[in-house]
């Protein structure tokens, strides 16, 4: 059974149909890439999937459950986490604290329990810190654990956002252009992390421009153009799909 199923998703902005009747499924334990030329509606679709925007029509089901009407923070609780195209880190907090904040749904200490340091709070904090340190190691950022997010270079910030998202122990992780602005070494590190995350049992949806990365890591690709889904399938088939080449890869093929 699919972990996430989008059905007939539509989003209009005035006269523009940014996402037009898009349906697709993601299967557990796979990496799905969402690609398309600029303005194809990828980010809009991404925001619909994560409840940061509301669809005018259609629905999203996660593990068989309709997500309609749920606010973004509830989705995290259900096991659906995301990163942002423009990183949304907590700049005045250290890398470690950013990841700890990402563990919000997995931890329970509330105001009263924290204020009185009731039994259990110290243990929960210690466990959360150990787990946060493990996740920083996973993305290769253990050396900057005590550095403020504001002082981290761009590529590191993207990886930190991945670690923060993983701190909620999601079943599905959605990444919005994770390789944007990364150099090839950083992209390589990212690809390595994504495969490790998938191998640990997390399903991934990746919106991405970097075709190298997409072809390298994804199991399945959904291609959008002008808000519509024009193709879907494994990387090798997508590369040969005439509609995709015409709409998107065509320009690059012509250049090459």
């Amino acid at each position: 059974m699919s972990l996430l199923a989008a059905q007939g998703l539509t989003r209009r902005f005035g006269g523009l149909v940014a996402v037009d009747d898009v349906s697709f499924e993601v299967f557990e334990g796979t990496i799905l890439a969402l690609i398309g030329p600029n303005g194809a509606g990828k980010s809009t679709l991404f925001n619909l999937l994560t409840a940061f925007d509301r669809a005018d029509a259609g629905r999203v089901a996660f593990d068989g459950r309709d997500l309609a009407g749920l606010p973004p923070h509830r989705l995290v609780r259900l096991g659906l986490a995301r990163t942002f195209q423009n990183t949304q880190l907590f700049e005045e907090m250290t890398a470690l604290e950013n990841v700890l904040a990402g563990a919000h749904t997995r931890t329970r200490t509330g105001w009263a329990r924290a204020a009185l340091r009731l039994p259990g709070t110290a243990g929960e904090e210690r466990d959360a810190r150990e787990e946060a340190e493990r996740l920083l190691r996973l993305v290769g950022l253990e050396a900057v654990a005590r550095t403020h997010a504001a002082d981290l270079p761009h590529g590191t910030r993207r990886l930190l956002e991945v670690a923060r998202a993983l701190a909620s122990h999601p079943r599905l992780l959605l990444l919005d252009e994770p390789a944007a602005g990364l150099n090839s070494a950083e992209t390589g590190q990212l690809a390595h992390v994504l495969r490790q995350v998938r191998d640990s049992g997390v399903t991934l949806i990746v919106v991405e421009h970097d075709m190298g990365l997409v072809m390298e890591v994804s199991d399945e690709i959904v291609v959008l153009n002008e808000g519509r889904k024009i193709a879907e399938g494994p990387p090798l088939l997508i590369q040969k799909d005439p509609a995709v080449i015409a709409a998107y890869l065509g320009e690059e093929a012509a250049d090459a």
């Binding site: 994560t50 940061f52 606010p71 973004p72 923070h73 995290v76 609780r77 986490a81 995301r82 990163t83 942002f84 949304q88 880190l89 907590f90 700049e91 005045e92 907090m93 250290t94 604290e97 700890l100 904040a101 990402g102 919000h104 749904t105 931890t107 329970r108 200490t109 509330g110 105001w111 924290a114 204020a115 009185l116 340091r117 709070t121 929960e124 904090e125 959360a128 005590r146 997010a149 923060r164 998202a165 701190a167 909620s168």
Partner: protein, 327 residues
């Protein structure tokens, strides 16, 4: 061991603060320091709301007033015990804070500042016009000293100890909150609301809680104030107080509880400088008091321009690696 070492500096400060009446017998100074202690209680709340969660409130004087009027009416007019009056003051102010946060929690930055400013003015008018309850511009007088059982805290020493004991407890509770999960949620709100939502933090609920706690502490301060002074009137709950509280947090440094306390002590002492600086002429003190609001405004402007991270930020710059993290 690690826990003891972490708590030691705070424990030393607490002992010094509470031991002060053993060496200081100046009634005026103790009275002034009691007012400063009240400022500390109120500022701790605003430090959580504004300094940590980044939600500005220019209406804290309203909650201070709501707390003061609540306990005054209940204790002076209806004969409630002091402790009951103070507890009710905290609950009523916190409730008012939560109710205010429901609509204004959607606002950010300048809009939030304007909305909370408006709330402060509405409350001030209510304090003035609800004459049957508040006594209008004449205010309420004859508010009794704090009393528990047969013990009445009438002496300046007793008032000082009461206020600072409350301030120290409030500080410890607030410090625990900011060091753990709820504190990270507050700072996450400040950093990025989208990022907070993506971390599973219920942004709206966190704001309501932060407003309620800040208002509750302001109400607690107001209640302490009313029983200390014995008389309250709308003039004590104006926008000037709200701005002073924001200036205290800004001077101390956003996101720092020790900073907020130092800011409260420095600015709170300012109009009563003669209590600690001997030989100040009466006219100097009067000038300080009449220019009080202007000085606070100037401090706020200068801090924003030259020391955006306040005293705590300056401290971190000179002593790197100390107190850098919220824990």
């Amino acid at each position: 061991m690690a826990v003891l070492r972490r708590m030691l500096p705070g424990a030393v400060v607490a002992v010094l603060v509470l031991g002060l009446p053993l060496v200081v017998h100046d009634r005026y100074l103790l009275k002034v320091l009691s007012f400063v202690g009240i400022d500390v209680v109120v500022v701790l709340g605003l430090a959580l709301l504004f300094g940590f969660a980044g939600q500005i409130s220019l209406g804290q004087a309203a909650f201070f007033g709501i707390g003061a009027y609540t306990t005054s009416v209940l204790v002076a007019a209806l004969g409630w015990p002091w402790l009951g009056g103070v507890a009710a003051a905290v609950l009523v102010s916190a409730g008012a804070g939560a109710l205010l946060a429901l609509p204004v929690g959607r606002l950010k930055g300048h809009y939030l500042a304007m909305a909370t400013l408006g709330f402060g003015e509405i409350a001030l008018i209510a304090f003035t016009e609800l004459k049957g309850i508040t006594g209008g511009t004449d205010g309420l007088s004859g508010i009794p000293y704090p009393q528990v059982g047969s013990f009445v805290a009438r002496a300046p020493e007793a008032n000082y100890l009461l206020v600072w004991a409350v301030a120290i407890v409030a500080y410890v509770l607030a410090a625990n909150v900011v060091a753990l999960r709820p504190g990270r949620a507050l700072r996450a709100l400040h950093g990025s609301e989208a990022g907070a939502q993506a971390s599973g933090i219920d942004v709206a609920r966190t704001k309501v809680t932060a407003f309620a706690v800040a208002a509750g502490l302001a109400g607690l301060g107001g209640a302490l104030y009313a029983h200390l002074v014995g008389f309250i009137s709308p003039g004590s709950f104006t926008i000037e107080l709200s701005i002073l509280l924001v200036a205290m947090v800004a001077l101390g440094g956003m996101g720092s509880l020790p900073g907020a306390v130092v800011g409260a002590v420095l600015l709170g002492m300012l109009p009563y400088l003669d209590a600690v600086v001997p030989g100040l002429t009466k006219s100097t003190v009067e000038a300080l008091q009449s220019w009080e609001a202007d000085i606070y405004g100037a401090v706020l402007i200068l801090v924003m321009l030259f020391m955006p991270h306040g005293l705590a930020g300056a401290f971190r710059r000179f002593f790197p690696g100390r107190g850098g993290e919220g824990s």
